[in-house]
Structure formats: structure tokens, C-alpha cells
Symmetry: C2
Subunit: 359 residues, 2 copies
């Protein structure tokens, strides 16, 4: 049942004229996010991506090329393609290089919003490798001590192979709130927590509707600022992508391609020792961490919730919130395909009152 | 004048029987920390290192070997040597591999406390490379949601080449307070800020004297926990070092070697494009960040303060606090060398009432 949303998306892309391997790759990455319960990077974003595809701000198909390729490293020109597809190509290249040299690093420029970093580091983990994936994005976040946005919410993703395919997946924005949470606060009119955003005078902003003219703050103060800066350097200064205030919004700028930059790294476990020994040691560390004294149950390891949601959603269907569902119905009408059927309204999705989709 | 503290340290190590290249490398790294104003990782720690050297818990000389060496990656057995020396060897190897393959990654086990990560990523930056340096350390920090220490303060260091040798150097603990700050709070009896430490019942600990039986919290909540976990995995699970609660304290365990693990990565800028173009783009990003609206002056870039202190300390001498100075005097008497001469008590050192040292 869970792949019906994927089938619907592919059918829609076909009707819209993006019936190719790149569209398929995009659909897979998009619906994977929904499947593992991260609906903020799933089907909810489809209307925005589709609008950009139709406006040719995202090229599909695109023709990525390498502008540097030296043994274990490369820089890819994404040719303004779908970030999900370009990212998949770049991480696959990093994985191939790691298989040959032990480690591979690939930077990308001229790309677009790549969805969720967890998807790419999971690719590395599926190949028995450790993966890192970074991206810059439209400037929303101030430096530590600053008042104007100079960084994107710049995601940091790290993955390692876990047992039974349950890989450890860390994927986080380097702002105190990620972009999707900010949009939800704005939509629902909820007051923001203290320390999340500041205005141009440095005053704390608590009304989410004022966020358009405010700057988010990095997570963890000066330390989070340092990590956001590192991601900006690796994914844009190093790769040739636009950076800081120059990156274009996927939601607000319908004149220009995103021009995002990414950075991918893969390390082959088998060339640094025995993957089996690594796995045993990892489980031992996880066991220590899980049992380190949480009154509400075990301490969670990054990725735990994703694999739990994946199991639930595979069995019960992917939950979709009503507003998103309305958008999908409209798209179905426009492209003359059957709307997805609503089958689930008790799901644990992150958005309010989720309804599951069945084709 | 600034190198007189280095000369004194080398003289002391000679008298103590550690007169070799490895002792010199250690002294250089130690005093570099003082020179750039990070006295928490400088001469202040010498008595503890010396005690471990004399007890043969740190071997000097040691004979590091490679237990894995595959093209661009390697794993080094540090032979229980000085972490500063072993780390220098491992980062140098990563730099050599990056020069050949574009990127190099080297893990280390069987090492000891390596001092400050900034020193190692600065080595990469001096070679026109991007550097990463991670280490685990004695367990002081709880997981997010946990109550017992399962991670060290696990430093995260990142460096990139800057103009005129002023490299960007990010070096931070992944706990809300770093280990040295904790010791200072305890020494001075100052109350801790909220959210820094918890006891076994999950209650916030505000009295620094209770920290021995408490757990520090990771910086930035769940995100900082994820990064601390990543560092533990890369520097120990991957390398074969002891991990989590098994790592030995350099200050409290005088029966066992530290058994710390490290992870180093270097990326050669010249193989991913033009280092000159990188430098121009980096300065442009820094310029945007610096001028992004701080009322107290420019926003700082990680490393700024270090290079400022380096200039001051090179001119005026390295400031040393009175308590540390007393320890150095005692060591001088014990080993029959002249005590360092006090020349500076107006310095901007981080410890209270600093006094500068002149041989």
C-alpha cells in the first residue's frame, strides 16, 4: 500500500511531461521522506517543485557534468537539475570513489533544493559506507551575534550502516528550528519559543508571522553558527555554487533557478577494518547509549523514529494532512488522473490530522 | 619572547628524559595553544601530561603503526603515545593522502588526549587544505534524554586556509561547557548556568562541585547529541579505540593509558578547483558574515580571536595564571632548571590574573 503514493507521483510526472529516469529518482526520494515519517520533505512539497519544473527553473532532464575530477574527489555542475536527482548522482559518484580509494568527496554547484540529507547518507549506508551530506539553502539564518540572515538552514546529515537495514541517520537543520517547522508555526499562528529568531535590531521575534522580515538563529549558539558556516563553505565556497544571501528560495523566487550547492562524502568501512567488527562495536555503543537513564524509556538513536514510521507506513499507508491532500486532488484534476484515495486518518504524521493516501 | 615558554618546556622534557622528536612535537602543540590564547589546552596541562609520561601511561617515544592502509584511508595504532605527536603523524598522513588522491582520512586508536583539535586542522590549512579533526575523550556527557555520561566532551574541529596565514579555525566541545571550563567553574565555585548538567535523576545541577557525580549535557539539545555521537563513532567505533564509558581520564586514572581515538580528514583545495578562486569566494562570504549587523562591531569568524591573541602574545609574551605558574616553578626546582621569569600580568588570558612567562 505504501508505494501507491509513489505510483501516483510517477503518473503525475508522466502527465506533466517529466517522464524519465530523473523524474523517477526525484519521486523516489520525495516519497521516501513520507515513508520514513518526514512529511516536511515529502509529497507536501510536490506542488512547489512542479511549479518550478514547469517554469523551467528546474531542468528535467538535466545534463550534469564534472568540472573537476581527480581520483577520490570531484565537483559536479548540476545543470540546474532536480536536487534529488543531482544529489543522487553526486552521492553515487562519492560512493564509487570510496569503493576505489577508501573515501570519496563530491561537491555540487548549479543544483536545486535536494530534499532531505538523510536520503543521501542512507544510500551510503546501504553500500556499507559512512556518509555525510551537506547543502546550503536560501538565507534565513543569522550568524552568532549577527542580525541579518546569512546562511540557509543548511542541513547536516550523517549516516552509518545499522543492523537489518536500520541505518543510523542523523539529519538536522543548523537553525534552532528547521524551515518546515517555521512554515508550520507561521501557518498555525503559534508563538515561537524564545531564542529562535531576531529582528534587525537584535530583538527576539516571537510572532511567526513576522519571520519573513526576521532572521532565524543558529542552533546551539556560537557552536551551531560554526557548523552552519562550515556547511556553507563546503557546499558553496568550495563547489562554486551561489552562497549566503545569493541562494534563491524554492518557494518565493520564481524567476531564477535555486543555484544551491551540496557536499557529499563517503567512507568505505571495508577499507578501514572489518565491517562486521564495526557493526558489533556500533551495537555495543548504541546499547550503552540507549540504556543511559531515560525515565521515559530508552534513549533514542538518530534514525530510530524513521525506521519505526517506515514500518507503520508500509503496513498502514502513508499519512497525508488534509491541506496537502487538497493540493494533490487539484493536481489530479488538472492532469486528468485519479486522485489518491484517502485511507488513513489516524496516522502519527507530523502534520495535523493526517489522512493516508491510497491510489 | 613568545617562544621562551616553548624553550623552557623543551628544556624540562629533556631533563625529564623525554628529549626526542616526539617530545618536541608535543611541546610545540602545547605552547601553540597558549600562543593563540587557548590556555585551557596549553602549559596548564603540562604537570598532568608529565605525570602520565613518568608513569609510562603515555609512551615517549612510541612507535605508531598502520593496521589498515588502503589508498586514501588508513587506521593508525598510536602505541599509547602522546596524543599531540600521534595526532600530528595521523594528520600529516591524511594530508599526504589528500595530496595524492584529493582527500585523505585517517583514524587513530590506542592514543591519548591530543590537546586541541584546532592545532591539527591548522596543519591542514597551512598545506592549503580543508581539515577536520575529531576525538573522543573520557565520558562526561549524557545523550539527549539520557542522565548518565556516555560521551566525552568530544571536540569538533574544522579549518580552512585564510588570508595571510589567518586560517579559519573552528574548535569546539560538543558539550554545553567544555571540560576546561567545567574545571574552572569547580575551582572557582561559581554556580553553573541552567541546562549544563544533570544528576542521575535528571535534575539540573547548578553546583559545579557536584559535577563529579553528574553528567554534562550536549550543546544544542538533540542536534548536539547527534554530533557528539557522530564523533564517538568516527573516532572510536571506526578506529578500534575504547569508547564511551571505557575511555580513561588523563586527570583521574593513573593506572591505564587513555586509549583515546581520533579521526582526521584533509581535502586538497587544488584538486577541487582553484585555491585562488576559493580564497576570493571565502573572503566574500566572510565579508558578508562580518557585516551582518552586530551592534558591538563586526560578527566574528572562528579563528579571529586566536590570531589576534597570537599577535599580542608574540609581542608581549604568553600570559600564565599564578596557580599554573606556581606549578611551573615547582617543576623547575624539581628538575634543576631556571624557573620561567614572570613578565606579564596584564594579559588578556582566559584564566584569572594572568602572568606572562619569560625564560
Amino acid at each position: 500500500m505504501h508505494d501507491e503514493l509513489l505510483v501516483w507521483t510517477i503518473r503525475l510526472l508522466k502527465k506533466a511531461g517529466f517522464d524519465n529516469e530523473q523524474g523517477l529518482r526525484f519521486a523516489e526520494a520525495l516519497i521516501w521522506s513520507d515513508l520514513v515519517g518526514r512529511d516536511t520533505h515529502g509529497i507536501w512539497r510536490l506542488p512547489a517543485y512542479l511549479a518550478r519544473l514547469e517554469a523551467r527553473l528546474i531542468k528535467c532532464p538535466c545534463s550534469p557534468t564534472l568540472c573537476a575530477d581527480s581520483q577520490a574527489v570531484a565537483v559536479m555542475d548540476g545543470d540546474q537539475g532536480l536536487g534529488h536527482y543531482v544529489g543522487h548522482e553526486a552521492m553515487s559518484l562519492a560512493i564509487g570513489k570510496a569503493a576505489k580509494f577508501g573515501v570519496g568527496a563530491v561537491g555540487v554547484h548549479n543544483s536545486n533544493h535536494f530534499g532531505t540529507g538523510a536520503y543521501f547518507v542512507n544510500l551510503a549506508a546501504e553500500n556499507n559506507m559512512i556518509g555525510l551530506a551537506f547543502s546550503n539553502s536560501v538565507a534565513r539564518v543569522a550568524a552568532y551575534g549577527g542580525r541579518e540572515p546569512v546562511f540557509g538552514t543548511n542541513p547536516f546529515a550523517f549516516g552509518v550502516p545499522g543492523r537489518e537495514g536500520k541505518n543510523m541517520l542523523l539529519d538536522m537543520s543548523t537553525s534552532g528550528l528547521c524551515g518546515s517547522q517555521v512554515m508550520k508555526y507561521a501557518e498555525e499562528g503559534k508563538p515561537l519559543p524564545e531564542g529562535i529568531a531576531v529582528d534587525a535590531q537584535g530583538k527576539s521575534v516571537l510572532d511567526a508571522r513576522e519571520l519573513d522580515s526576521a532572521a532565524l538563529l543558529p542552533f546551539g549558539g556560537a557552536r551551531g553558527y560554526g557548523i552552519a558556516l562550515m556547511i556553507e563553505i563546503l557546499s558553496s565556497v568550495l563547489t562554486g555554487a551561489l552562497f549566503s544571501t545569493k541562494v534563491n528560495s524554492m518557494f518565493k523566487n520564481f524567476n531564477d533557478s535555486g543555484e544551491n550547492g551540496h557536499f557529499f562524502l563517503a567512507i568505505d568501512l571495508s577499507q578501514m577494518g572489518s565491517p562486521e567488527v564495526f557493526s558489533e562495536r556500533l551495537e555495543s555503543l548504541f546499547s550503552t547509549v540507549r540504556s543511559s537513564g531515560n525515565a521515559e524509556g530508552d534513549v533514542l538513536v538518530p534514525g530510530d523514529t524513521r525506521w519505526l514510521r517506515k514500518q507503520e507506513n508500509t503496513e498502514l499507508g502513508i499519512p497525508v494532512d488534509p491541506l496537502t491532500f487538497l493540493g494533490l486532488e487539484k493536481l489530479s484534476v488538472r492532469f486528468g488522473i485519479s486522485a489518491p484515495e484517502q485511507v488513513r486518518n489516524d496516522g502519527p504524521g507530523e502534520l495535523s490530522a493526517p489522512l493516508a493516501i491510497k491510489l
